[in-house]
Amino acid sequence: GRERLMAAFDKINASFKTLFQTLFEGGEAELRLVESDDPLEAGLEIFACPPGKRMAVMSLMSGGEQALTATALIFAVFLANPAPICVLDEVDAPLDDANVDRFCKMLHQMRDLTATRFIAITHNPVTMSRMDRLYGVTMAERGVSQLVSVDLKQAEALAAE
């Protein structure tokens, strides 16, 4: 019970710290159990320090910094027990171009480290350009979806329809 949770926590915390430093190209972060000494009762708090800034609880970071930090946490949990399939629905929405690029680099690492098949739902042209293939969803007939295989140029037209 308690031991299994602490083992999972330590493993995830270690991955989280590494992934954070990959996504932020530096800085520090850590997970902490708070509000109780009993791991079965405690809450999960996230502390992070982007390069050159100060360590603070995640709620004080910018929108994009919070999203990138939460993404590091999700992937740390994923690595503890890699699923055969991973679908990410618009997780890149609040990220600027430089952060989207680092996010895509991390996806490439994940692809090379695991046998997991990844699907990223996105509006971001940088993400689209970094994927292995593209599917487009259209509603040529209003209210009725269709799926098509596309190349990058077609996708940019589709996303802007």
């Binding site: 708090e45 999203a67 999700i74 699923a83 399939i85 994927m131 599917y135 969803v137 979806s145």
Partner: protein, 168 residues
């Protein structure tokens, strides 16, 4: 277990039989707002045994059945098929003789859902366990719904810990 394809018929805006091939590596899904991208993720979670209508943006499970569009009447049934490659024979004994597993969930308006694995009717629980044993499932942390990152950021520490519990 490797996921190979997802086939939707009458599920939300995918009224016509639609096949999504799930291939190795990184696949992007793109398109305008409201065209149906998130519906694809919901179909995957649904066939894996998702039981919360609210988490599917539905008020009741019948809401996932195609409800009609301009010039098209609504349907009375929705079906999603998930095909899994089982050539490494890691499925539960009961289904492990097959190199391919086809998991099908069907819902009939007013009559609830039925589940089949390779044509054999099973309970929702059997489907949920099949995927849990493969480190996946409707509530897998690797299935990140639209807005779920914001939820994680805004969550109370006591609610965030669930992500650890799912993993432990």
């Amino acid at each position: 277990m490797q996921f190979q394809r997802l086939r939707l018929t009458g599920f939300k805006s995918f009224v016509e039989p639609t096949e999504l091939r799930i291939e190795p590596g990184l696949t992007a899904v793109v398109g305008p707002n409201g065209c149906g991208k998130s519906n694809l993720l919901e179909a995957l979670r649904w066939v894996m045994g998702a039981n919360s209508a609210k988490a599917m943006r539905a008020e009741g499970m019948d809401d996932v059945i195609f409800a009609g569009a301009d010039g098209r009447p609504g349907r009375s049934r929705a079906e999603v098929l998930l095909q899994i490659d089982n050539s490494d024979r890691t499925a539960p004994a009961r289904f492990n003789e097959h190199a391919t597993l086809e998991v099908v969930r069907r819902i009939d308006r007013g009559a609830g859902s039925t589940y089949r694995i390779n044509g054999q009717e099973v309970r929702a629980r059997d489907v949920q366990l099949l995927f849990a044993d493969a480190s996946t499932g409707a509530n897998s942390p690797a299935l990140v719904r639209q807005g779920q990152i914001s939820e994680l950021i805004g969550a109370k520490p006591s609610n965030r810990r669930r992500i650890l519990e799912e993993a432990a």
